[in-house]
């Protein structure tokens, strides 16, 4: 049994580090207790050596687990150091870290030590201590334990800002292969419950003044990328479905880092597919903010993203007949589809057009990436790209330069 808090913290942070979510965004609230508030944009407090943002104290309550999911470091059959925190310890640590502005709040997850209810109860107890005893109004994100009593999940949801259920893998088939003890149905149940709770809260809020909030920052989920043979197309389809049917705030992707050996798993020497993860996040962005559908981004004949060009660019290459777009006339939605134009620059174009016509020299200052955009736009009727618009020619101009190798004269 490990008693030292520092050792416990190391073990339980290490066990939680593959959880992707670090967001502290989505809730804007003042301090209505003794300590803590949240701002809608979220705040990152530090960046670890892997370049990922640290915004929340991200830990497991325990890494003693009864499950044996093959991709997971904490599976019961692994010989790793085990430790548990008590709810009191987690609550105290959160407050002490928060006061020093190390963190924006808590991200609490857990392995299943005995059964789902036992674990969910401990999570609820931690939140209760933070909210009621410490008067903490900062951000709390908790992992819902599938299979726990719905009443317990509901009570926890009244104290949390965000809840998430990890669907772990992008398809039923993959889940069967790597986590046979989990079922899609069991994972979807709490997701549906939380979504219904949020909808119900919004309904009732119109009639009652004092109503406990319910998961005000919404729910999220995450899935592992590259541990199975799922294509980007099926991942993006699943993602879209999750946004549409459960109103998820975020779907996170996590490039699989091999931690275990197994006949159904990639070998330990496999590099995490970081570039692929990046492309999926770009595509996710296009779904959420750029009014794209999954079918527009990929199709069965091309089920994976191009590693050389981003998803918006590849969409443009496949839809050359839509271009060029006239900067001084195009509606906002169309501007958003031009490679090199983002949400900020599209908004600026719309605003500036109310004052005066936009000239070619202005485009840089608006923040448009002209290197990419010039092939897809006209400005006051004039095209500034190549003479003819063909994808191959543009690709050649935009392709990343191959890195040349330094030849050694001694070899």
């Amino acid at each position: 049994m490990i008693e030292n808090a520092l050792d416990k913290l190391k073990i339980l942070a290490d066990a939680a580090k593959y959880d992707v979510s670090c967001a502290s965004s989505g809730a804007d609230k003042k301090n209505n207790g003794k300590i803590g508030n949240s701002i809608a944009a979220g705040i990152c407090h530090a960046w670890s050596t892997d370049g990922r943002c640290i915004s929340l104290l991200k830990i497991l309550l325990t890494n003693y687990c009864v499950y044996d999911c093959s991709y997971c470091i904490n599976r019961v059959s692994n010989d790793v150091q085990r430790a548990s925190f008590t709810p009191e310890e987690v609550a105290d640590l959160t407050i002490q870290f928060y006061r020093r502005n190390y963190i924006e709040g808590l991200f609490l997850s857990s392995a299943i030590e005995k059964n789902p209810n036992h674990t969910m109860e401990k999570i609820y107890r931690t939140l209760y201590l933070l909210r009621e005893e410490h008067g903490f109004s900062g951000y709390i994100h908790v992992k819902t334990i599938p299979g726990a009593d719905p009443m317990l999940i509901h009570k926890t949801g009244q104290l949390a800002d965000r809840m998430s259920v990890n669907i772990e893998l992008p398809s039923t088939k993959s889940l069967k292969l790597l986590a046979p003890q989990k079922s899609v149905k069991k994972l979807m149940e709490p997701m549906e419950q939380i979504n219904n709770g949020i909808i119900q809260y919004k309904e009732e809020k119109r009639h009652f003044i004092h109503l406990p909030k319910f998961v005000p920052a919404g729910q999220s989920t995450q899935m592992i990328i590259g541990a199975t043979k799922d294509t980007d197309l099926s991942i993006i389809h699943t993602t879209e479905k999750l946004y549409n049917s459960f109103n998820l705030k975020r779907v996170y992707f996590s490039a699989y880092v091999p931690v275990n050996t197994g006949s159904n798993l990639p070998s330990l020497a496999t590099e995490p597919p970081l570039k692929r993860e990046h492309r999926l996040y770009q595509a996710d962005w296009l779904l959420r903010f750029y009014h794209f559908n999954a079918e527009e981004l990929l199709d069965p004949s091309q089920p994976n993203f191009d590693m050389e060009f981003d998803p918006k660019m590849t969409w443009a290459f496949r839809n050359m007949e839509t271009f060029p777009v006239e900067i001084n006339k195009a509606p906002y939605e169309m501007l958003l589809r031009v490679p090199g134009i983002g949400m900020t620059s599209a908004r600026r174009i719309i605003r500036q057009r109310q004052i005066a016509n936009i000239s070619y020299d202005h485009l840089n200052k608006i923040g448009i990436v002209m290197k990419r955009a010039k092939f897809f736009i006209t400005c006051n009727g004039k095209f500034h790209g190549q003479l003819d618009m063909n994808p191959e020619g543009i690709k050649e101009k935009l392709a990343p330069k191959p890195k040349f190798e330094q030849l050694s004269i001694f070899s």
Binding site: T49, R351, I355
Partner: protein, 242 residues
């Protein structure tokens, strides 16, 4: 005429008043930054609260909240030409009105937008990167930001830590905001001796450092990306980097 002033917002607004009611300004500088030359004619303006209030009211009536924010943030920028940029921006604003910021690419609007954005970015960055240490019954933090941002940060922490007492010390400008019992004020500030750190505080520092180290995924190491987010110049005041 080049106007020189004391660096206060009141002083700056008084200069704007003089620009409209006396001689036109060609440039505005803070007196302590300006090297008096032989060719340019310059004049020092004393802050005058009656004149500055008149200008302030005019700004509030004429401009959008967005513009007022841009003026405030740009004023706190470390750029030496920021006062002159603001002069031209305000002048153009009095002609064009509430839609001033729509004209993003205009030569007098763009520099103000750029400086304002840089300041607000730094404020946001320091809301995360600032670290408090418990010293006695006070939470103390030291920062060395490029821009003069502590007054823009304090309300965030005043709400967040409303039952605590805290000090945010700008070591570069030798100033601090001091918060206690629901109120804060800005003061000149310096510390004579090294701070005494308690054993408990040292232990919590160690806990945080241990956590910080453990949370990184070795297989994904990317120090360049980390440095993009936490530039080296900030690291000496951030506990987990020391």
């Amino acid at each position: 005429m080049i106007y020189l002033y004391d660096g206060s917002f009141d002083g700056f607004l008084t200069v704007i008043y003089e620009h409209y009611y006396s001689e036109k300004a060609t440039a505005i500088y803070r007196k302590k930054d300006y090297q008096i030359g032989l060719i340019d004619e310059s004049k020092t303006i004393e802050a005058d609260s009656v004149k500055s209030r008149k200008v302030h009211e005019a700004l509030i009536n004429k401009f959008s909240t967005e513009t007022l924010n841009n003026i405030q943030y740009t004023f706190l920028s470390c750029d030496r030409n920021k006062d002159t940029y603001l002069l031209h921006y305000i002048e153009y604003g009095f002609r064009i009105g509430k839609r001033l910021d729509f004209d993003h690419t205009h030569e007098v609007v763009l520099p103000v937008h750029q400086l304002g954005k840089r300041v607000s970015f730094e404020v946001h960055r320091f809301l995360g990167l600032l670290r408090f240490q418990e010293v006695g019954s006070v939470l103390y933090s030291a920062i060395e930001p490029d821009n003069d941002i502590i007054t823009l940060m304090v309300s965030h922490f005043a709400d967040r830590l409303k039952t605590e007492r805290f000090i945010i010390h700008d070591k570069k400008r030798k100033q601090a905001v001091i918060y206690a019992d629901g109120h804060w004020y800005l003061s000149d500030f310096h510390i004579k001796e090294e701070l005494q750190i308690s054993e408990k505080e040292k232990y919590l520092n160690a806990l945080w450092k241990g956590y910080f180290k453990q949370i990184a995924i070795k297989e994904r190491e990317n120090l360049r990306l980390q440095q993009q987010f936490v530039p080296k110049k900030y690291r000496r005041n951030i506990i987990e980097f020391t």
